[in-house]
Structure formats: structure tokens, C-alpha cells
Symmetry: C2
Subunit: 340 residues, 2 copies
């Protein structure tokens, strides 16, 4: 690391280190001539003090932070994160604002990252994903006064503004559609049950089934990976009373589910219907194409960035906003179920 240091500048300018420090910090203790020489050498060496650089941007770090609690290897496989980042960047790049990404192990590491980013002036605000029940991140961010926008909610985000996706409404749409197609045995391959949106979806699923007089649906947990979803799907389809329709928590897990169904000789959609939360190119490339609950993920990223800039500029008190609702896009993977 050969970044120009105070010592480099001192050496080149032929003055002491403290003279350099005085000159660069515009403090008394050096002659005007020395100050000018030091500034010229510093500029020549490409040196810029932190404080001067920050002052140029009005004390801003010029970056926002996104901590990702996802195994690194999954980032490349699942479209959601990159589509969200793409939407964030569409707003950030217009402001020449950077994005600090940090993959973290768990919520504790995520909180430590927020503390460090804020204490070291590395970010002006953060985007928080996957709101939990009783989310410990909320209180920490409030205490730090670190501007933040939560994607999730609206309940449980304290004073932090949020963009709340309408997960219960999305699930309700799907279940009513499947019920209308004649499906009675539904299954749900769901993500982490500590996540607020998974709870909302699961509650809605069970509620609608109860209201419609359908049997109790099965919810099984699978993470974001292929392997986990494949295993969950195999178990569901090997059970004596296998479901006739499965709802997946992501597009990637649904694509894997389709592969497993075909591998097990089931005809989609004649014997089994499949639906994905999140739409992406993956859903449209498979055969049959996957029915999906679509929402504009880059649009949500851009909305989050705009809300975060507002929170950074105007301080706390920003309003939470609903995201646009999910749109159910029926494609080839769902069909009428006829009892045989």
C-alpha cells in the first residue's frame, strides 16, 4: 500500500510532518509560503484529507449500505437480489452515490456492520431486507439515528419508513385462483418462518383455505437454494396424499420444483400445478412457463433508494409506502384439477 502519507508529503516538500498537518488542516503554525508548497505537493501526489473530501459533499459519505444475509454462492443464482440492486443503482448512479455491499452471516453480524459503517462515516443510510418478527435491527438503527428504509412491514418497523409488499393479498389471490381451478390439497414451500413476509403469506394461506372449506394446507420450509427446494418438493410429492398445487416462495425454488416434478413423471399442470412468488426470466424460460406472482423488483429498489435519500435529506419522519401489489400472471404451470 503506497498511498501518499503525511510523511511522503513532508519528505517531498522538505518540511516536518506537523507542518504538513498544520498546512493541510488550515491551522496556524506554518508560513503562508510553506502552506502553499505543502498544498501543491499534496495535490501533485493525489492526496486528499478525509475531512476535505467529506466537506466537498456536505459531510456525506456518498454511499448507502446493503447487508445481505445470503450465502455468497446463492447471490449469482437467484434474480431477486441483483434485480433489487439494479433498481437501487438506477437511482444511485444518477446521484453518483456508491453502494456498500456486505455479506453477513446472521442478524448479529448485520447489526455490527451497521454500527461500523455509521461510526466510520462509510454510509449515509441503509436498506434493510427481510424484516423479522420483533426485529432487533429496528431498535439499533433507531438508536444510532442511522437513516434506514425497511423493505417489508408496515408493522414492526418502529419509526423507520418502510415499503411494505402486500404478501397476504398476493397469497389470497393465488389460493382463490387455485381453489377456483378445483385444487383442494395445497402445499407451500416457504422460506424462513421468522421473516415477516413469510408469516403473512402462511397466515393468509391457512385462512383462505379455512374460509373455502379446503383441507389444512401443508407448509414446509426450504431456504433459497436449489437443493433445499428440490428435497422439499420430493418429500411433498412422495407423500401418500400429495398436493395438487404447490406455491413456492421464490422463482428459483419454483423452477427447481418443476424440474423435480418432471423428474418424478408428473404432468404439469394436469397432475400438479405450480406457482412462484417473484417473476423473472427464469419463469418464462422453462416449459411449461411458470405461473407467477409478479412485482416490479427493480422498481421497488428504486423506490427504496428515493425514500432513503428523502430520509437522509429531511431527517426522520418519512412516511411508509405500499409497494405496488403483486400481479398474478397465470401461465402454463397452472391448470384445472379434475379428480380421477
Amino acid at each position: 500500500m503506497k498511498r501518499p502519507t503525511i510523511a511522503d508529503i513532508a519528505g517531498r516538500a522538505g518540511v516536518s510532518r506537523s507542518a504538513v498537518s498544520f498546512a493541510l488542516n488550515d491551522q496556524p503554525g506554518v508560513s503562508e509560503e510553506t502552506r502553499q508548497r505543502v498544498l501543491a505537493v499534496a495535490s501533485e501526489l493525489g492526496w486528499r484529507p478525509h475531512s476535505a473530501a467529506r466537506a466537498l459533499r456536505g459531510g456525506r459519505a456518498g454511499a448507502i449500505g446493503l447487508a445481505l444475509q445470503r450465502p455468497a454462492r446463492l447471490l449469482g443464482a437467484e434474480p431477486f437480489t441483483m434485480e433489487l440492486i439494479s433498481g437501487l443503482e438506477s437511482e444511485l448512479s444518477a446521484r453518483s452515490c456508491g453502494l456498500n455491499l456486505q455479506v453477513v452471516e446472521d442478524t448479529e453480524a448485520e447489526i455490527a456492520t451497521y454500527r461500523r459503517w455509521w461510526a466510520e462515516h462509510r454510509v449515509d443510510g441503509v436498506i434493510v431486507l427481510n424484516l423479522l418478527d420483533d426485529d432487533p435491527r429496528v431498535g439499533v438503527l433507531e438508536d444510532l439515528h442511522l437513516p434506514a428504509v425497511v423493505i417489508g412491514g408496515p408493522a414492526g418497523t418502529g419509526s423507520l419508513p418502510s415499503i411494505w409488499s402486500q404478501d397476504a393479498a398476493g397469497m389470497t389471490d393465488v389460493v382463490e385462483y387455485l381453489a377456483a381451478l378445483g385444487h383442494r390439497r395445497l402445499a407451500h414451500v416457504a422460506g424462513d418462518p421468522n421473516m415477516r413476509h413469510i408469516v403473512d403469506r402462511t397466515t393468509a394461506l391457512h385462512e383462505v383455505c379455512r374460509l373455502r372449506g379446503l383441507p389444512e394446507p401443508v407448509t414446509v420450509r426450504a431456504d433459497f437454494s436449489d437443493e433445499d427446494s428440490a428435497q422439499a418438493t420430493r418429500r411433498l410429492l412422495a407423500a401418500p396424499d400429495r398436493p395438487t398445487a404447490i406455491i413456492y416462495h421464490t422463482d428459483l425454488t419454483a423452477v427447481t420444483g418443476l424440474e423435480v416434478a418432471l423428474e418424478m413423471g408428473l404432468s404439469v399442470p394436469d397432475e400438479l400445478s405450480l406457482v412462484a412468488f417473484n417473476d423473472s426470466r427464469l419463469c418464462r424460460l422453462v416449459n411449461p412457463k411458470l405461473t407467477a406472482l409478479a412485482h416490479d423488483i427493480p422498481g421497488r429498489g428504486a423506490q427504496a433508494a428515493r425514500m432513503l435519500f428523502a430520509a437522509i435529506d429531511a431527517g426522520p419522519g418519512a412516511e411508509s409506502q405500499p409497494a405496488e401489489p403483486y400481479r398474478l400472471l397465470p401461465r402454463g404451470s397452472t391448470g384445472v384439477y379434475r379428480t380421477r
Copy 2:
């Protein structure tokens, strides 16, 4: 922005701001008792000076930088960038190192970003993508002494270590394979001809065609987007002497090319063969599956991160390394061409 400031600490501790500054910077001018009180209040308020925080990490920023010269909206569509980031993160997360992402308009903006990151101690090094002919970034990074690893090369990277993909060899494999299948009229939907790897591929394509006695191949330029690739493919296929095989510079552009070929009523591979540089799930989900030149993109990201850490730790002089060669994976989109 209510981050604790020197003034906040001064107010709470009941001392002057300069007393706080002396105490936090461990300079003379305050009593030991005051120093202790200031440090206690500062810690209580969650304040940490830049320099102290940096010192804890041995002067390191604890982050590396990646500037992306891609329109933000494309980041979500194309697997390459996210797979590369996924590979970088697999090494970064093990070291709790952050990744600073910045979407930039052009090379000039990218260079300005490097200067700013380095001057402000925001990154310890950078990964450079898409090496250009006479790349101006190389000289700037050398002058800054900013540790950097170039993905591309090995020629034209100056003293910077690089991971060079074997693009000429990959193209040679494909062309020889297509020639062996009976193809004579080849086309190449290529990216930016200022990029070194595009030049290498194009040169190899023309050279192998010449050696094999095939007609001069057609190279057309298309960016990374769907629209551009679709238009390029439509033009190629509408020409009187249309090619019997097309080689695309990315998986996404090849998937789009396949859609256009099917839309125009051509049978793949009977009337037209298609090959993609880069393999991903996209290639395996389409029908027919796309023949691809595969390389381990997350693996390359991880390799780049390891080389960058070595350059940061040990200083300049790190060796360039070849990436693993491309592997040609023939799938359903390529077949024997029979003259009709």
C-alpha cells in the same frame, strides 16, 4: 443525520470542543480525568473516530471496490456480474471485507471513482473488468499505487496482476467444432470492439475461418441488452446469405437470439446452430438447451479476490494467472448442417 458529533460529546461531557478533540486524539491539553470522562461519553454515544477505527484494522479500509460500466437496468438481467460478485463475496465474507459497488457511465467516471475511493481511504484495492485496448485505467492505477487485479489480459495490464481468460482458445474450439459439423457461414454477435477479449475472440474467429477455408465470417456488434441482440439477430437472419451458425458474446444475448430464431420460423439446430459465451442457468432452461462455452465465473471472482488480497498484503509484483480455460458444452442448439 443525527450522528454524534464532537459538539454532542462536548455538550454531554460539559467540556469544550477542543478538549474533546484533544482527548479523543490522545493529545496533551486536557487532564487525565477529563480525558476519561470524554472517552466514556464518546463510547456511550457510539462515537468512534475514523483514525481509531482504521487503526483497529491496521490502517485498512476493510473494503474493495468494483466499478461497473453497465446500465443499472441490465445488472438484474444478466447472470455474469452477479455470479462474479457472488465469487468475490465468498472470499470477502470470510474476511468480513466489504464490497463497494459503483455504477459508472464511462471510463472517465470509473477513473474518477478510483481516485476518490483511494484518496478517501474507502477501499484497499479494486477489481478491474473489461480491459480495453490501450486501457487508460492501467496507468492511473499504477500512478495511484492502488492495488488492483485486472480480469482480462495478460497483455496491456502493465504492472497490474491479471486473470486472463483464454478467449482466443475458446473461440478456436467453437469454430473448429462448428466447421466439423459442416457449418460454413458463421456469424458472431460480439460486444464492444474496444474490449480486449472481444478483439481476441474476433481475431481468432477470422483466423480459424481463413485456415479452414471458410468464407469470411460476419461480426456484428451488440451491447449486453436483449433489444440489441434481438435486432442484430433479426438482421443476420433476414440477410439473403444468412449464417448457419451464430456465436453470441453472452448467455443472455444468446437466449434472445434463440427466441428471435424461433420467432422467425427457423428450426434450431436443423437450420441454425447457436452458441453462447458464458454458461448459466439461462442456457439450460431454454428449449433446445444452448451450447455454451462455460467457465467458472464465481470461481474467477474468488480467484480475483485472493489475488487482490495478496497484492494488498504483499505489495506490487504479484503474478498474473490464467483463468481455467473455457469448456465447450455441446447441447441441443448445435447440430450437423446439411446443405439442402
